[in-house]
């Protein structure tokens, strides 16, 4: 059988130039594309592969091909969405319910039919109580009614904006099978490490430290999909390894900047390899200076303004990100089409102004040229956050602030900054996930318990901002909600609870033979149903 397919593919490829001038039947193309194995680099092996519990990019990278959300992000779809397990969604006027119509003819990888009971179970038993992001967005979800097998009605105890629910669909609504999880300990279910979903690929095997293998699901609902037979994730922990493996053609694609920025210029010149910057628009990472407002100096707005003026954002983008980033203007990134406003206070690079502001604030330079000392904790998660730490130290020295860098590993950084608040300034890479209410407002909101990562742990409290955040959380009219978030951006930029320096997406490096790469704003964490390898 395999031999027959290969020969057919060869025949098709051989006659492709003959057919190219004529109208090529679309069936011919899709058959020529079908099949193939895509080998990609993976740099980590998540402890739990269930995207309904752990909504993080490391998990999605593998599991989004197996377990599907209700809708996926899209460049040109309505509301920036493309239906997946849900085909339509409609909110009630009072904001207390959202009705999802579900797709027909969908089956789980174990053969059971997919129905509204699975959605209700996932929402109430997984997303709301267990999921890292869902616990916030779905906290007012009270019940999910299932009038028929293909309709799920979400009931909220408080008015919940449909806009927020829509923006949360791609990342927060991975549906897991009720019949596999019901009645057992969900957090310890073996299916968390061998997920069963409705996606285009079935989970085949995981060899710890070596690879994950996904296989084509023949009964996938998407017509003619998936194109690939198999996806292999090769675990390559060494950052230099991915570039070499691409060149040696041992892998065909490396996403999430697995190839370090410094190698991109060289590798982009290798024939047969392309460097792609698209496909991360809905996963924007932000380079942020977190500020501990418990420090008397930093509680002074003038000092925070001075720090903002001391940072040369263009230099950071050019030197640290080698141009693969944008200078930030505020707390919402520029590539967000719904909420972003450029109409906020900006802080240009101006050392003289920074010095003047610090003098004004009452912290003159002492005899040794220093005003005061700060403890600076760069997050260890990215090369770029550590490098920015080194830059910030120098930039602050230029205005007389003596910053001492404290380097920690992940666990120690998490504890020092977010639990013990043992920092003056820290560098963090929070993610903007398509709606400020998902993971952005908590960066400045007050009253967040100790220990919550990527949240306001700097002791900042601004009643006006808190009121704005609370109001936006229950404003149903999309335009009014956007307006509230524009005010929110202005207030943050004016009061500087934190300083946004740059925003970046990741880079994909792939062989030319891999097609349909980066064709949606969450490509690396989407289902790759239409991706194929040209042979």
């Amino acid at each position: 059988m395999a031999g027959f397919e290969i020969s057919r593919r060869k025949v098709l490829a051989g006659s492709a130039f003959l057919l190219a001038s004529t109208a090529l039947p679309s069936i011919g193309w899709s058959q020529a594309r079908k099949g193939g194995r895509l080998v990609v680099a993976a740099d980590s092996e998540p402890r739990n592969l269930n995207p309904a519990i752990v909504a993080s990019n490391g998990v999605f990278f593998v599991s989004s091909k197996v377990v599907e959300p209700l809708a996926e992000a899209s460049f040109d779809g309505e509301d920036g969405l493309e239906p997946r397990l849900a085909t339509s969604w409609e909110g009630s006027a009072d904001g207390l319910s959202v009705t999802f119509k579900l797709r027909e003819g969908v089956t789980w990888h174990d053969g059971q039919p997919f129905s509204s009971a699975d959605v209700a179970f996932s929402a109430l038993n997984v997303w709301k109580p267990l999921q890292n992001l869902g616990r916030v967005v779905f906290k007012n979800l009270e019940a999910v009614e299932t009038p028929d097998a293909k309709t799920a009605v979400f009931k909220f105890s408080k008015p919940t904006p449909l806009q927020l629910i829509k923006n949360a669909l791609p990342a927060l609504t991975s549906v897991v099978p009720k019949h596999v999880y019901d009645g057992k300990d969900i957090a310890e279910n073996p299916a968390n490490n061998a997920p069963i979903g409705t996606g285009p690929f079935k989970f085949a095997e995981h060899k710890a430290g070596e690879y994950y293998r996904l296989e084509r699901y023949d009964k996938y609902w998407g017509e003619g999909e998936p194109q690939l037979d198999e996806i292999i994730y090769r675990v390559l922990p060494d950052r230099a390894a991915a570039a070499g493996a691409l060149e040696a053609e041992e892998i065909q694609l490396a996403a999430f900047s697995a190839v370090p920025l410094a190698d991109l210029e060289r590798i982009s010149k290798v024939p047969g390899i392309k460097v792609i910057t698209e496909g991360y628009e809905a996963l924007t990472y932000q380079l942020v200076v977190e500020i501990n407002h418990r420090r008397k100096e930093l509680a002074d707005l003038k000092v925070r303004q001075a720090i903002a003026h001391a940072i040369d954002k263009d230099f950071v983008v050019k030197t640290i990100f080698l141009g693969y980033a944008k200078p930030a203007t505020g707390i919402v990134p520029q590539n967000d089409k719904q909420f972003y406003t450029p109409d906020v206070a900006t802080y240009g690079f101006d050392v003289a102004k920074a010095n003047a502001l610090l003098d004004e604030a009452g912290y003159p330079k002492k005899d040794d040229g220093k005003r005061f000392a700060l403890k600076l904790l760069p997050a260890p998660y990215f090369n770029e956050t550590r490098q920015f730490g080194d830059y910030l130290r120098q930039a602050l020295a230029a205005v007389g602030i003596d910053a001492e860098i404290v380097n920690n590993d992940s666990a120690a950084h998490q504890k020092a900054v977010y639990t013990e608040h043992a920092f003056d300034i820290a560098i963090a890479p929070p993610v903007f996930r398509g709606d400020p209410a998902i993971s952005t407002t908590i960066l400045v909101q007050s009253g967040i318990p100790d220990g919550v990562p990527f949240s306001n742990q700097g002791g900042y409290k601004n009643d006006e901002l808190d009121a704005l955040i609370a109001k936006a959380a229950e404003t149903l009219d999309p335009a009014a909600r956007i307006e509230l978030y524009k005010q929110f951006q202005k207030k943050v930029a004016a009061d500087l609870p934190l300083i946004n320096v740059a925003e970046w997406g990741f880079i994909t490096v792939a062989r030319d033979t891999v097609k349909n790469v980066s064709n949606n704003p969450r490509w690396a964490v989407s289902n790759w149903a239409d991706t194929y390898v040209e042979t």
């Binding site: 080998v39 980590s44 998540p46 402890r47 739990n48 752990v54 993080s56 490391g58 998990v59 267990l130 890292n132 992001l133 616990r135 916030v136 957090a187 310890e188 968390n192 490490n193 095997e205 060899k207 710890a208 430290g209 070596e210 690879y211 293998r213 198999e230 292999i232 090769r234 675990v235 390559l236 922990p237 060494d238 230099a240 390894a241 070499g244 493996a245 060149e247 040696a248 041992e250 998660y381 920690n408 590993d409 992940s410 666990a411 120690a412 950084h413 998490q414 504890k415 020092a416 639990t419 993971s439 967040i448 318990p449 100790d450 220990g451 919550v452 990562p453 990527f454």
Partner: protein, 328 residues
């Protein structure tokens, strides 16, 4: 065989106090490191306060360190290595899965460096001070001075990326469906570069030691006597000088094997070999105390076994050694 087994048992029992100190020490060290397993986990996935609290409870991290240490030691007494929080699997499974890879990599690298180092050392030590000796000594020192990751990267660029003779990384071809001899050959092909990178670095140790030992034996009276008796030089070199210089190398081999069991984080990372070194690094990064101690204990057990084998080798190489202990 029975005698060796008895010896092994006695050694194991004798090492219990040491192991206990190691276990408690590692536990306290990881306890002293800032942040726990939950911190390491939420740093990568995020989460709210309720989730963090629930995780601490379900991973058993809410009890005091002393309670947890006591519970761990009690389980250990029942030969239970516990549950890895980072992998969400029994520690023993995780460790045993990686152990063969490390044993293969380290065993082959040790064999390579020992065999090649000793041979070259004999060549160098046959005529101390000769041009050949100088060349070999300088060459091996240069190799020893090269950082392991650099050598590994250069080898991969030349042999995997440019020439494409050998696979770049991994233990074997992924999902190849190979079995038996074909699979063994496939694994061997994958091991060539990592074994070479590791082996070449340690080569100098054996070469230098062999050479130095031989230079010393050359000055001894019995060597002089052998030469005076007119024994052919080749025979003097191999049977008299080299054999007498070999014992310290066996000592070195046992020390070195202990070091190598810990795995080479660098080589395992560069070549994506899932071994114990990388696992230990991950265990520390994720503050996975049971896993780290599990790795240490399994390694310690193997070191004891290897030392025993070395002692037996001593007895074979030099009848004066070891007889007393075996008898007792």
């Amino acid at each position: 065989m029975n005698r060796a087994w008895g010896l092994l048992k006695r050694r194991l029992i004798g090492s219990i106090p040491v192991l206990l100190i190691v276990v408690v020490g590692s536990f306290l060290l990881l306890e002293a490191a800032p942040g726990d397993a939950v911190d390491a986990y939420v740093a990568s996935v995020g989460g709210d306060a309720g989730m963090i609290e629930a995780l601490r409870t379900s991973w058993g991290l809410d009890a005091s360190p002393m309670t947890r240490l006591a519970a761990y030691l009690w389980a250990l007494l029942h030969l239970d290595l516990g549950h890895s929080v980072a992998f969400s699997r029994p520690v023993l499974d995780v460790v045993l899965e990686r152990l063969p890879n490390t044993l293969l990599l380290m065993g082959a690298a040790t064999a390579l460096s020992f065999a090649l180092g000793t041979t070259l050392g004999i060549l160098a030590g046959a005529r101390p001070g000769s041009a050949r000796d100088r060349l070999l000594s300088i060459g091996s020192l240069a190799l020893y001075a090269v950082p392991g990751f650099w050598l590994a990267l250069v080898l991969t660029i030349v042999f995997s990326v440019e020439l494409r003779w050998l696979p770049l990384s991994g233990m074997e071809t992924i999902a190849s469906g190979k079995t038996g001899i074909a699979r063994m050959l496939d694994i061997a092909r994958h091991m060539v570069l990592p074994v070479t990178s590791l082996g070449l670095i340690y080569l100098a140790l054996y070469l230098r030691m062999m050479r130095a030992g031989m230079a010393e034996v050359w000055r001894m009276d019995f060597t002089l006597a052998a030469r005076a008796r007119g024994i052919p030089r080749r025979r003097i070199v191999l049977a008299h000088v080299a054999r007498n210089a070999l014992l310290p190398l066996v000592t070195m081999l046992s020390l070195q094997s202990a070091q190598m069991l810990g795995g080479s984080v660098v080589i395992e990372s560069v070549f994506s070999v899932p071994g114990l070194g990388r696992l230990a690094q991950e265990a520390v990064g994720s503050r996975d105390t049971p896993l780290l101690i599990g790795i240490i204990l399994v390694s310690a057990f193997l070191v004891i076994v290897i030392n025993l084998l070395v002692d037996i080798a001593y007895a074979v190489l030099d009848p004066r050694v070891g007889a007393s202990e075996v008898k007792a």
